[in-house]
Amino acid sequence: MIEFVPQAFAVAFSFEVLIALAVGTFCGIIIGALPGLGTVLGLVMALPFTYVLDPATAVALLLAVYVSSIYGGSISAILINVPGTPQSAASVFDGYPMAQRGDGALALGYATIASFVGGIFSLMVLVMIAPQLAKFALRFGPIETFALIVFALTTIAWVSSGEMLKGLLSATIGLFLALVGPDAMTGQIRFHFDNLFLSAGLTVIPLLIGFFAVSEVLFQSATLKDAELPAVRSGGFKIPPWSEWKKRIVTLLRSCGIGSFIGVLPGTGATAAVFVAYADAKRRAPNPEDFGDGEPSGLIASESSNNAVSGGAMVPMMALGIPGDGGTVVLMGALTIHNVIPGVRLFSQQPDLVTQIFVLLFFANILMLVIGGFGANLFSRMLKIPTTLLMPLVFMMSVVGAYAIRSNPVDIVVIAVFGLIGFLLRLNRFPPAPIIIGFVLGSPLEVSLRQGLILTDMNFLAFFASPIALILFGITGLILLNLFGAGRLVGRVFGRSEPEA
């Protein structure tokens, strides 16, 4: 495959492809930064424009949108406490506090570079071991997937900032919300109370918008001091010093690894991967109490892992023809229309195309770094309007984004209802992330459990017979033990009233 690289580079440097990459990156960043739109919608919007383009240019445009929209979400997460995409939900924890204390430019610097490293890391993984990784991913059947998701649920502990009980409660509610709508196993529709629109279930972006964006609007309305103050006081782009990076290299690499790995395994998704990476970083940090207060490691963990998922998700797509996440579903559909059929046959029959895709992905990441760096200044300046003027616009984007994904009025109702609920929960110190974690994992958790039960004839103990599952359950158990310290379990959960920072 290495023999195709020079040709692939030549194509990448052609005028149309460069333009496609640049336009795709720029638009992708904006789409990511505007709350409510998201990567999948960005790809869907770009799709019709690719019909008239040749395959290389089309792929360039789509990959650029894919990669840079993931990064774009961090911009609004950091500057206005609203994640632009679900994958940036964890970036608000440390990004926004950094911006509030004047380190906004630094935060954007961390986010941009971490996103770039995440993208390149997963690209290298993709290039070097895609087929082998895909084979390994196949060993994750329903039972192993169930074990993985149970493990992922433990991350709730690290994003509950001391209010464990409330975090658990939110997460369980999130799990339950995921069950509204069609049951993937039987097709029966649950909890829709005979409403046609509810029968389609709920989706994550409206929930995220309601819970983060609208509740932020409401929260500002309740607590804002001065109507004239600009929402964004510190923005711009500043590259953090090497000394700061050196301390955090391990965190960075581990988060990239976690993102790539979870991206490869279809079923969990980028949002879950980000929280696992965040929890892991917090768990291992010498200063876990700083997480959630503007500790750069938290931001790095979040932004590198979400971009790493992009490369990871492309592994099963390219090697097996099985999409790894929502974005790759659209990507695959787009590739198919352009006569590029991902799967086992692609690697053997069209290796030049495969190399082309890798090279384009490389360039997409580079452009994301460059345009992101220069663009950050622009975006920060644009957001320097008073909060009271910005929040109505956030509200506008919320409505647009909620309806855009599937034209279902339920989604618009969701943003209002969960905006209110999010506000009430925020008021009473409920951590915002667990409900999203629960929602994202609810359906895969139930489906994998029930599939596993069918396969083992209702014998749950047989779940422990799988080596991979056993290892994952073991790690989960250790984490729980460590977390609670056997005897202090009750005292910890029904804790004293002072929450940890």
């Binding site: 039987t186 929040m391 509200f395 984007m397 409505v399 647009v400 905006g419 009473n428």
Partner: protein, 154 residues
């Protein structure tokens, strides 16, 4: 009874959640959820009931914690009037968008929310309320063919 606002809030939230979860739990026994089994599978309400039961238990735990809370700390101070106005404005905005369509409803909605929040310069607010939704519509609906609410009245 708890002394501080925090404890009271926990108690109320916990009780509300527990009641809601129990009601849903009861709902799972209604006739519509009877029997669509495959072999070896659990019923479609098995997992929901598991979750609802957990929610009920955790909520009661929260209520209990609130009851026994000794802290006198309260919830953050809020401007209730401004909050209520803003929430009302968002609701009105949404209803207008739904019934009259995005092009009419959204500018009104944006304006109302801005008013409720207290943005002082009404003229700029009005201009933004018209310009921003229009620009977004032109780019997304016309150019990128994204779906926008078109109003159910006409």
């Amino acid at each position: 009874m708890p002394k501080g606002g925090q404890g009271r809030a926990d108690l109320i939230y916990g009780l509300v959640a527990a009641v809601a979860a129990s009601a849903m739990f009861a709902h799972t026994f209604s006739a519509r959820y009877s029997n669509e089994f495959l072999f070896g599978d659990v019923s479609t309400v098995f997992f929901p009931r598991l979750l609802l039961g957990t929610i009920a238990l955790l909520s009661l735990g929260l209520a209990f914690k609130g009851l026994r809370s000794t802290s006198t700390g309260g919830l953050p101070k809020i401007h209730f009037r401004r909050f209520a106005l803003t929430f009302g404005a968002t609701l009105v905005g949404i209803v207008l968008v739904w019934y009259l369509g995005y092009l009419i409803g959204m500018p009104v909605g944006v304006f109302l929310v801005g008013l409720a929040l207290g943005y002082p310069r009404k003229l700029i607010l009005a201009a933004t309320s018209v310009a921003a939704p229009l620009i977004v519509w032109l780019v997304l609906a016309k150019f990128a063919q994204v779906s926008f609410p078109t109003g159910t009245l006409f």
